[in-house]
Symmetry: C2
Subunit: 358 residues, 2 copies
C-alpha cells in the first residue's frame, strides 16, 4: 500500500487557522479508508518567513517539494508587511507555474443549510465547475514603466496566451463537460473588447469544440457572464476561463452560493509530473485572522479533492472524498456553523464536527 507524501503549508492569516481542521478531516478519512499519509509540515511560503529571511521560500524549495505527491496549502498574503504581489509571486503563483499546475478546478455548489444570497434558490439548484487556466494569460510580470514619475508615464502590462496552454485547458473542460449529464460548457471570453488575445481564444475554443460534438458549448463575454452567475446560476454546468476571468468567476460563483468560505480548489498537473496543490479559494483574510472564526469547510473540502486526485478518483481515495463531502453536507445542514453562515461556532468546533462525522 502506497503512502502518499503531503507537504502541509499553512501560509498566512486564516490559512494557519483552517489548516488544522483540514488536516483533522483528511487524517480521519485517510485512517478510516486505510490511506497512508506522510505529512511534512512547512513554515515557509509565508510572510512570517519573508520577515525573517527577506524571501518567501528557501532557495531549494523546488527540490524539497518535488518528491511530494501533493501540497496541502492554506493561504498566502499579509499586505501589512509584504506587498501582495511580492508574497504571491514568491509562493503560490510560483508553485502554479513551476509545477505546471495548469488546471485550477473549482466546484461551485449550493448546500442545504447555507443561507443563499440569491432569492428563491435551493440546494441542488447551483452545481457547476469553474475550470480556470492557471499558469499564463493575464497573470504575468511582463511589461514595464516608461517616463517613470513624469506626466508622460506609460505602463505596459502584457498577457501571454500559448496554444499549448490554451488548448490543454479547453480540452480538460470539454472532457469534464462531456462526462457530466448536462454536457454543457460555457466559454468565458471578452473578444469584443480585448482585441488580440480573446478573438484568438475564441478560435481555439471553436477548434477544440469540433472534437466534442456532444458538448453544447457557448461563448459568453465576461461582463454578461458575471451577470448571469447572479441571474441564472442554475444554467451553468462547466465554465472554462482564462486565468483572470477564472479567478473572478470562482469567487463570484461561491459568493452566489452563500460564502467563499466554502469554496475549495484543486491546482492540478493532470499528467502528475509535479505535485498538485489543494487550497481554499478564500485568501488569508487578515481582517478576521486571530479570532478563530474562519469557516474551515473550504480547507476541508480541498482536502477531499486531494485524496480523490491522489487515487485517480478511485477506490479508497474516492470513498474518503465522498465521506468528507457527506460530513460537510451534514454539518452545513445541522450545524455547528461559523459566523459567516449565521452560526456561533468557531473554526475548531466546526472542524471537529466534520471530522467526528467522518
Amino acid at each position: 500500500n502506497k503512502t502518499y507524501r503531503i507537504a502541509v503549508i499553512p501560509g498566512d492569516g486564516i490559512g494557519k487557522e483552517v489548516m488544522p481542521e483540514g488536516l483533522r478531516a483528511v487524517q480521519a478519512a485517510a485512517d478510516k479508508f486505510g490511506i497512508g499519509l506522510e505529512l511534512t509540515h512547512i513554515d515557509w511560503a509565508s510572510c512570517d518567513y519573508w520577515q525573517a529571511h527577506g524571501k518567501m521560500m528557501p532557495d531549494d524549495w523546488k527540490a524539497q517539494l518535488q518528491g511530494m505527491d501533493a501540497i496541502f496549502f492554506g493561504a498566502v498574503g499579509w499586505p501589512a508587511t509584504v506587498p501582495d504581489h511580492v508574497s504571491l509571486w514568491g509562493s503560490l503563483l510560483k508553485f502554479r507555474r513551476e509545477f505546471d499546475q495548469y488546471i485550477n478546478l473549482r466546484p461551485v455548489r449550493l448546500f442545504e443549510g447555507v443561507p443563499c444570497p440569491l432569492a428563491g434558490r435551493k440546494a441542488g439548484d447551483i452545481d457547476f465547475f469553474v475550470v480556470r487556466e492557471n499558469t499564463e494569460g493575464e497573470y504575468t510580470n511582463l511589461g514595464g514603466r516608461i517616463f517613470e514619475g513624469t506626466e508622460r508615464e506609460i505602463v505596459i502590462q502584457e498577457s501571454v496566451f500559448s496554444r499549448h496552454g490554451t488548448e490543454r485547458v479547453l480540452k480538460f473542460a470539454f472532457e469534464l463537460a462531456q462526462s457530466r449529464p448536462r454536457k454543457k460548457l460555457t466559454v468565458a471570453t471578452k473578444s469584443n473588447g480585448i482585441a488580440v488575445s480573446m478573438p484568438w481564444w475564441d478560435e481555439r475554443a471553436d477548434e477544440i469544440g469540433r472534437s466534442y460534438p456532444e458538448v453544447a458549448a457557448d461563448k459568453q463575454h465576461i461582463d454578461i457572464l458575471s451577470a448571469r452567475f447572479v441571474l441564472q446560476p442554475d444554467r451553468f454546468d462547466v465554465v472554462v476561463a482564462s486565468n483572470l476571468f477564472g479567478d473572478i468567476l470562482s469567487d463570484l460563483g461561491p459568493a452566489c452560493t452563500g460564502t467563499i468560505g466554502l469554496a475549495p480548489s484543486a491546482n492540478l498537473d493532470p499528467e502528475r509530473r509535479f505535485p498538485s496543490l489543494f487550497e481554499p479559494v478564500h485568501g488569508s483574510a487578515p481582517d478576521i485572522y486571530g479570532q478563530n472564526i474562519a469557516n474551515p469547510v473550504a480547507m476541508i473540502w480541498s482536502g477531499a479533492l486531494m485524496l480523490d486526485f491522489l487515487t485517480h478518483g478511485q477506490g479508497a481515495g474516492r470513498q474518503a472524498h465522498d465521506a468528507i463531502v457527506a460530513a460537510i453536507e451534514t454539518v452545513l445542514r445541522e450545524g455547528p456553523r461559523t459566523r459567516d453562515l449565521g452560526g456561533q461556532a468557531d473554526t475548531t468546533e466546526m472542524g471537529k464536527a466534520v471530522a467526528a462525522l467522518i
Copy 2:
C-alpha cells in the same frame, strides 16, 4: 435659448427597438422644460451599414459628429454577420477613444417594484456608481501572434495604462465620492496577480487619495470585490475601476439589482471638447431582437443622464432628468413592465407609459 444638437444612433438589434422609447421620453421631458433639441438620425455605426459598405462608418464620421452636443446611442453588435471585435472597434470603442470620453459613469440602483435576485434587499439598499476608465487599459488591439498556426503559437496582448488616463479617472471618482453623503470609494485592483499595471494603479490611487482626506478609500481585488457585489451591495458608494474591471462590475452591479435592462451609462468627456455619448449598458441582444420585448428603461434613463449633462446638472436639464427618473420609478413600481421584470408589456407600451408620466 441654446438648441442642443443630438446625434441619434440606434445601431443594431434591440438598440433599434429601445431607441424610439428613449427618444419619446427625452422629447417629452425636453418639451416640458423648454429644452431645444435638434436630432440628427444616423443609420451608420451598425452592422447593417457594414454589410452594405464593408465598414462600420463613413470616412468622415468624426467630422459629422464633432459639432454635436451629444450622441444618443442604442447598441452595436450583430455577431452573426460581423465579428464583435470588428463592429465594436469600428464604432463604439472608436467613439470612446477618439472623442476622449474617458469617464464611463454607470449608476447602480435597486428600484421599488423590480424583483431583486438578491434575498432580503429592498429599494434604497443598493445605490452606488461605477466609474469606469473608458479609453485605455485592457481594451487594446496591441500585441499579436507569433508562430501562428503551429504548436508553438504564442499570443501577446498588451494593456496600456497612462498616468494621464489613470489619474484623471481616479480624480473624477474621488470628486464624486467627496460629493456624496457617505464619501466612500472602492478602488478595484488585482495587484496580487497582474504584477505590472495593477501595483502601479494602486500607487496612483494612494497618491490621488492624499488630496481627498475626507474620502474613505479602500482597495479591493476584483475577485473578492465581485463576490461582495453579491454579498454586501449596500456597502458600496462609488467604485472606480479600469476599463475591463469597470465593464465587468457595471454588468454585475445591475444584475444584482434585478436586470441589466435598467442600467444606463454616460460616456463622458467632462471637459466637453468632444460630444459625450449616452447608451444603455445592455448590448444589442440578438437573442431577443425582433420581438419588441426589450426593456426600454436603460435607454430612457441614459437619455435623462444626457439632458442632465448637457445643462451641467443645472436648471431645465436637471429638472428634465429628475422628471424622467421619477417617471421610471413610478412605472417600475406600478407597471406596465416588460418580461424581464415579470410583466407582459412590450417595449413600446412600457416606453409610452414612462413618457406619459413625464
